[in-house]
């Protein structure tokens, strides 16, 4: 018990929590744009995975992780366009479309990676982001090394929160986006282009999820392995719901799930007589429990249902 407490209070755990949480935060904050526009963000997993591969390839071939990030955003956005077309234009069942997309992304990323590098056990490493210590701040005891010695994308994930709050609640665009997720017919009757708003919301979520994926492949482990996301997109989806679709709530949920991931790694390292597979399960179990107890009352009123303006009289 004391050893667990020691883990929880360590600088190392705080640092790792923030690190593990940042891809979740990016993807989940992106997911808000999709969900608030009325489209389920269950496809985050596939978008993240595509971003992870594209980021790795971009960085590997160009030699710059920045190119990688751009590729990752583009790949996530492209996958999102496909998903948006299925859900919005063709009015497909969003759960089915998302599940199909996630399976497709898993297959294609594996295929492309093997196509590029063959089936080998060699470790292919791409140029990756390095931690950037922020002058002065990183020298603060305890907090400095915990908060101010991360990769730039990690800082970006945290800075995204105020941006999302501002865009959603302080701009006319944000009001329009939220309206199409609540009552698309009402939005349509006052001249809001429902289709365009929904596409934009989904594509923004795709771009951010793609960048979140690249965080895994070119900031944390510097290589791509098949299914590198390992369900993190689903955890981000859970964070959107558990956070009740508000930016701050979603941010805190993602932070919590990230901390759970960091914790299970630390506990594994303690060498307790528990199978490590059980520990791996921990963040997902937490997400599941959180979802069961979060209820669903505050979801956007038209979430998951396509907008069909024809057929009314």
């Amino acid at each position: 018990m004391t050893s667990l407490l020691k883990v929880l209070l360590s600088v190392d755990f705080g640092y790792a929590s923030i690190r593990m949480a940042s891809p979740l935060i990016l993807a989940a904050l992106g997911g808000i744009f999709s969900e608030r526009a009325g489209v389920l963000s269950l496809g985050l997993e596939g978008m993240m995975l595509s971003g992870a591969l594209a980021g790795f390839l971009g960085s590997f071939y160009s030699g710059s992780p920045w190119v990688g990030v751009v590729y990752a955003g583009l790949a996530g956005g492209a996958v999102a366009v496909i998903y948006a077309a299925a859900c919005i234009t063709f009015k497909a069942n969003q759960v089915v479309a998302a599940v199909g997309l996630n399976i497709l992304a898993q297959g294609i990323t594996g295929l492309v990676f093997r196509g590029a590098f063959g089936i080998t056990q060699d470790l292919h490493q791409a140029p990756a982001f390095q931690p950037v210590a922020i002058p002065v701040l990183s020298k603060i005891p305890v907090l400095g090394p915990m908060l101010f010695n991360h990769e730039l994308l990690v800082y970006a994930a945290f800075l995204l929160l105020p941006v999302v709050v501002f865009v959603l609640y302080r701009t006319t665009w944000g009001l329009k986006l939220r309206s199409v997720g609540e009552n698309p017919l009402a939005a349509d009757t006052v001249g809001v282009n429902v289709t365009r708003m929904r596409y934009t919301g989904v594509v923004i979520s795709g771009i951010l999820a793609g960048i979140a994926g690249s965080l895994l492949s070119i900031a944390f482990i510097n290589t791509f392995i098949e299914n590198i996301t390992a369900g993190r997109g689903f955890v981000a989806f859970a964070a959107v719901i558990f956070g009740k679709w508000t930016p701050i709530g979603v941010f805190l949920s993602a932070l919590l799930f990230g901390a759970a991931d960091a914790l299970q790694l630390r506990i594994q390292a303690l060498g307790l007589p528990i199978p490590y597979q059980l520990m791996l399960l921990f963040p997902y179990l937490l997400a599941l429990i959180a979802l069961v107890f979060s209820g669903r009352s505050q979801s956007p009123a038209s979430l998951g249902s396509p907008y069909d303006k024809s057929g009314r009289s």
């Binding site: 302080r170 006319t172 009552n183 009402a186």
Partner: protein, 508 residues
């Protein structure tokens, strides 16, 4: 004469199998309140949707303020200066009043929302026109009347010169209707024009300057309101003489059959919908329950018929408590139901007429024996009921979704009334029906009463309540505000009770 504000010429709109608008001409002058009168399905709403850009006409042209207008989307109509208040409000429930008003508009501080400034503007506008509503309130917190004011504010904030209102009074108390017509008059006095869609003759007479009557997609006539009367309008609307007063013999009430005592229940949102409601209905009488929609009427009906859980109180049918029984057990004790939404609750649209007729009884004789359906017998019973209830259908094997609304309702009546129920719970039994079908339904309900059934008639149409009920109970926020005799009922008094402003002492 001045140039008219709006001119529609030869508007034609076809739907598969239906000519919804057939070369419609309509002229609306500046500052005019123009009533568009017609039955359900006469093409009023379609015409306005065409004008507002929600649907596109197949033929015809629109001139607005002397210029040709092409509306392919509501956005274009709004820009031109046309506002519409839909029958089902187009509001985002989770947003505030101000957010709803400014949604879709450019802000003065684009791309910023400028909410504080907008709130001040909405407040000023609402004070100017007497449209009382808190700019910061969320829509779901508002009453239906207040929500309607938000819709009017939306149009005014967009500088609408022409305001279209689709059945604006359907959800209002008589007092709220008065307030609305005062607001409309002040808007017209300012030079704005108003088109309001309705099928209620007294409102046409009370509010409008001019009236255009539509029937089956065609303009029958446009007349000055002052030069016509209700009977003439009704004849134009229906195409034949209409009997306003349904001839009804005095009730001969006997013993109490349905007794509700202190009934409590929650609604879908888990909020209290019935707060200790009590009422009683005798055999051979119709108790009308009046009230604005959303005051617990649905929950009351659902508790009685056994599809909603009561949280307290009793419902007695012939002295036996039926709370907690299944809907089948309730039906077996002699409760028949005409549900509010026939397409979802009363019928299975994809099944055949005969199959719908045996619902609720398919498990017992004569419909089935030893678990097998007796198709011949079912066919025979369906055929008899088709005759008896004058259901217009090619055969009993037709899927009910292919029947008209009136004939669908007759299927429901045939099933429920042919069982000779002791209690009938009828909720909005004529919603969406034309005059002929409405008369038929009313006649059948009266017949059931005369046969000795206790009828609980729940309706938001005050006229229906007044013409059928032997006694009238007014429901407000899950309670009965008072019960009055059907003959002695005063519309003003009922209106005050519907708004919760008055409560009779011996409310039971």
């Amino acid at each position: 004469m001045d140039q008219p504000l709006l001119e529609l010429r030869g508007i034609t709109k076809r739907f598969p199998g239906v000519l919804a608008n057939d070369h419609i001409d309509l002229v609306v002058g500046k500052g005019e309140i123009h009533a568009l009168l017609g039955e359900n399905g006469s093409g009023k709403t379609t015409l306005m949707n065409v004008l507002y850009g929600l649907q596109q006409a197949d033929e015809g042209e629109i001139h607005f303020e002397g210029k040709p207008l092409k509306t392919n989307s509501p956005g274009q109509a709004i820009d031109a200066g046309i506002g519409m208040v839909h029958q089902h409000f187009m509001l985002v429930q989770a947003f505030t009043v101000t957010e709803n008003v400014i949604l879709g508009m450019r802000s003065k501080r684009e791309p910023l929302l400028g909410l504080a400034q907008a709130e001040a503007e909405v407040k000023a506008l609402s004070e100017k026109y007497g449209l009382k509503v808190d700019p910061r309130a969320k829509i779901w917190q508002l009453s239906v009347g207040e929500q309607q004011r938000v819709e009017i504010l939306k149009a005014l904030h967009r500088r609408a010169r022409l305001l279209i209102l689709d059945e604006p009074t359907a959800v209002l108390t008589p007092q709220e209707t008065e307030e609305l017509s005062a607001i409309l008059r002040s808007l017209a006095a300012e030079g704005r024009s108003i088109i309001f869609i309705t099928h209620k003759l007294n409102e046409v007479m009370g509010i409008s300057n001019k009236v255009t009557v539509l029937r089956a997609g065609r303009v029958i006539d446009t007349v000055e309101t002052a030069s016509t009367n209700q009977a003439a309008l009704a004849r134009m609307m229906v195409g034949r003489e209409v009997v306003f007063e349904i001839d009804k013999t005095p009730a001969a009430p006997k013993e109490v059959v349905l007794q509700v005592e202190g009934l409590k229940a929650a609604n879908q949102k888990k909020l209290p919908a019935l707060r200790g409601l009590s009422l009683s209905v005798r055999a051979g009488e119709i108790l009308g329950v009046a009230g604005v929609d959303g005051n617990g009427q649905h929950e009351l009906a659902e508790c009685i018929i056994g599809v909603r859980k009561a949280e307290g109180g009793r419902v007695l049918v012939c002295g036996q408590d039926i709370v907690g029984l299944s809907s089948r057990q309730v039906a077996q004790r002699g409760v028949g139901v005409i549900p509010a939404d026939r397409q979802h609750q009363g019928l299975v649209l994809g099944l055949q007429l005969a199959e719908n007729i045996m619902f609720g009884n398919f498990y017992c004789e004569p419909y089935s024996r030893r678990g097998f359906l007796q198709l011949g017998k079912i066919e025979e019973i369906a055929g008899r009921l088709i005759q008896e209830y004058d259901i217009r259908t090619p055969s009993s094997a037709v899927e009910v979704k292919n029947l008209s609304g009136g004939n669908q309702q007759k299927v429901v009546l045939a099933r429920e009334l042919s069982r000779s129920p002791k209690v009938i719970v009828a909720m909005l039994p004529t919603r969406g029906l034309d005059v002929g079908a409405t008369e038929f339904v009313h006649r059948r309900i009266l017949d059931a009463r005369d046969r000795g059934a206790a009828v609980l008639l729940i309706s938001t149409e005050l006229e229906e309540i007044l013409s059928l009920s032997d006694r009238i109970a007014v429901m407000y926020e899950g309670e009965i505000m008072g019960v009055v005799s059907g003959d002695a009922a005063d519309v003003n008094e009922l209106g005050l009770m519907m708004a919760g402003a008055k409560r009779l002492p011996e409310a039971s």
